[in-house]
Amino acid sequence: MSVIIKNGRVIDPGRINGPADVLIENGTIAAVGPGLKAPAGATVIDATGKWVLPGFVDLHVHFREPGFEYKETIATGAAAAVAGGFTSVCCMPNTQPVNDNQSITEFILDKAKAAGLANVFPIGAITKGSEGKELAEFGDLKKAGCVAVSDDGKPVMNAMVMRRALEYARAFDLPVVDHCECTHLSEGGCMHEGQVATEMGLHGIPSASEDVMVARNLALAELTGGRLHLAHLSTAGSVRMVREAKARGIRVTAEACPHHFLLTEEAVREFNTNAKMNPPLRSRKDVEAVKAGLKDGTIDVIATDHAPHAAFEKEREFDYAPFGIVGLETAWGLALVLAEEGVLTVEQVVSALTIQPARAFGLAKGTLAVGADADVTIVDPEAQWVVDPGQFKSKGRNTPFAGWKLKGRVVSTLVGGRVVHP
């Protein structure tokens, strides 16, 4: 089975950025270069005027299955992923039951296989039931297919538990992913603590609730030599500390979400529950710091924290509405804003969505190198479109970006050489 993608501009960061064809044989990349000859019987995809990119890799999604299938299933989540150009996604374990054992991991992989769309990589829990007390069985989780461990949705509050997790995970070379939030400082909070919360009379989540946990985690990474990955950084303090830690050679990677580099606390005005997520939208100064962190490589990865919820759950009092927004189907257009603003080059944007996340979790993905799995995303860089949640493949419609005019759209997605979108 041969597929050839012709006449596009291939952007595979660090390898090629220019006009080239991509030849796929039996689900893997066979050749990349200008003027490739299509073998007899090959399927030809014309990518004139398009960019041909490695399939995007998202380290942070919530697919809600098992337990909350009314919000999202692995099949609908995977459909949303490929519609957004993501060929590989890592799903957080905060399902019901929590993915803290081999059988849940296998269940997730079975569902993903049945859906046959994106590659789904489960993330196992750090602690049993994500209760923050006893370590989950990392060995079993890894063997079953987990690529990292995290109690995401919650932090690991007990510093000793976090220390043991970072130490123990070394035996399996698993990254430990923390959602950095001191729950004592954030208790009762529902948006960034600052001027807007003060005006609206909403309880705040101070930047310090993230900063103190980032500081702790970096100290523990230094102590243990464990592989630390920090989820969804949102504050200037976090970025500063990670930058300093990297300069000192501590093993740490970090991600940022599009909403944290494009929106501020101002989006919450009018009690917009689609602008409620955790960590919350922060101040202008924080947004600038996150961008600076992406620019200088302090933040390695753009992730979505795709968190679908049912409409009725968001149509509630602001305090009662759940945290989280969907992100898979808007991420590319939103990330490209960074290139338009001159924060990153296009190649850097692609890198933060492909090879960088793949490296952070040690996935053999995010590249068009010869021999790699043929996960390819083709985008039209000029296509203008308006975000319409009604068109999402995800069950979740909860986005603060509805109505945004974006430039750059995913037109086709291939996983293992097979067209899975549209």
Partner: protein, 306 residues
């Protein structure tokens, strides 16, 4: 004359003209409340639903009287914690009430922004009767009305709000109203009760009560929510009242004819000394009387002012 808006959600988005219109309209309704027959037919045939998710006597009664004096039909709908726990959402409850053809929903709710949600999704006029720590616009309007009666001018008026500014909807609504009208607003309380960046609302912050009270024309005390002691915001009621209770000696630090206000209900001896609450400078009961007139004005003006 009318307010060209469907709902009254807060003072923050009201113009000075709208505020003034409410205050002027309230004057004629205050006259109605002084009559032998305290009723006008203005809202005859209209239905006002008081939808209260928090216990309240003063505000609910005040709205009820206001609606009745305008000849509207009034239903009091007190939602107990138990029916919320049965799972009916705010929106479903309100849709049910609207299905009964309510023209006004007066909403008191423990969560900030609850009236904003209803305003967006329902046809009825929503009047915010206090939402979490956000706003309590009719309280601010009745405070303004009382101030105008006693002091005439807002411009240059020096006013101190004392207590838990961070969690007070009364403080927020009054800060928005008074700064719009040109008064000088001070907020006084321990730093744990000051919301972040409160100075940006155009107020001066004092942690020392004596210092903050010096020379002010109006002292507005807030009710101390006693459950917030402990590790939360202050160590003990004893220490709080030593530092922040308005005593007769402290009133003397203010201007000679200073007024003392309190939205009620008061904790005697905690944030306000009994002698002060009952003194001539106290206008606490005027506030209650004026509350009815101001709420009549709000309902009237929202109904189109016809």
């Amino acid at each position: 004359m009318s307010l060209k808006r469907k709902d009254l959600l807060g003072i923050q988005d009201m113009s000075v003209e709208e505020i003034t219109l409410v205050l002027e309209t309230a004057e004629s309704f205050k006259e109605v409340s002084g009559r032998d027959i305290k009723k006008v037919p203005t809202l005859r045939g209209k239905t006002v639903v008081n939808l209260f998710f928090e216990p309240s006597t003063r505000t609910r009664t005040s709205f009820e009287l206001a609606a009745k004096r305008l000849s509207a039909d009034v239903i009091n709908f007190a939602v107990s914690a138990s029916s919320v726990s049965k799972g009916e959402t705010l929106l479903d409850t309100a849709r049910n009430i609207e299905a009964m053809q309510a023209d006004f929903i007066v909403l008191r709710h423990p969560m900030a922004g609850a009236p904003n949600i209803l305003a967006k999704l329902l046809r009825a006029s929503i009047v915010n009767a206090g939402d979490g720590g956000h706003e309590h616009p009719t309280q601010a309007l009745l405070d303004l009305y009382t101030l105008r009666e006693k002091k005439r001018e807002f411009k240059g008026l020096r006013l101190a709000i004392v207590g838990d500014i961070a969690h007070s909807r009364v403080a927020r609504s009054n800060i928005y109203a008074l700064t719009k009208l040109g008064a000088e607003v001070r907020v006084i309380g321990p730093p744990t009760m000051m919301p972040l960046e409160v100075e940006r609302l155009g107020v001066k912050v004092f942690y020392d009560l004596d210092e903050g009270l010096r020379g002010v024309d109006v002292i507005m005390m807030l009710r101390l929510q006693l459950e917030r002691q402990g590790i939360a915001l202050f160590p003990s009621i004893r220490e709080y009242s030593r530092l922040y209770c308005l005593t007769p000696e402290r009133v003397k630090l203010a201007a000679p004819d200073a007024l003392v206000m309190h939205p009620g209900p008061i904790n005697r001896g905690v944030e306000i000394a009994p002698e002060v609450a009952d003194s001539v400078s106290s206008v606490i009961l005027d506030q209650v009387t004026n509350g009815v007139a101001v709420r009549m004005a709000v309902l009237y003006l929202l109904s189109g002012g016809k």
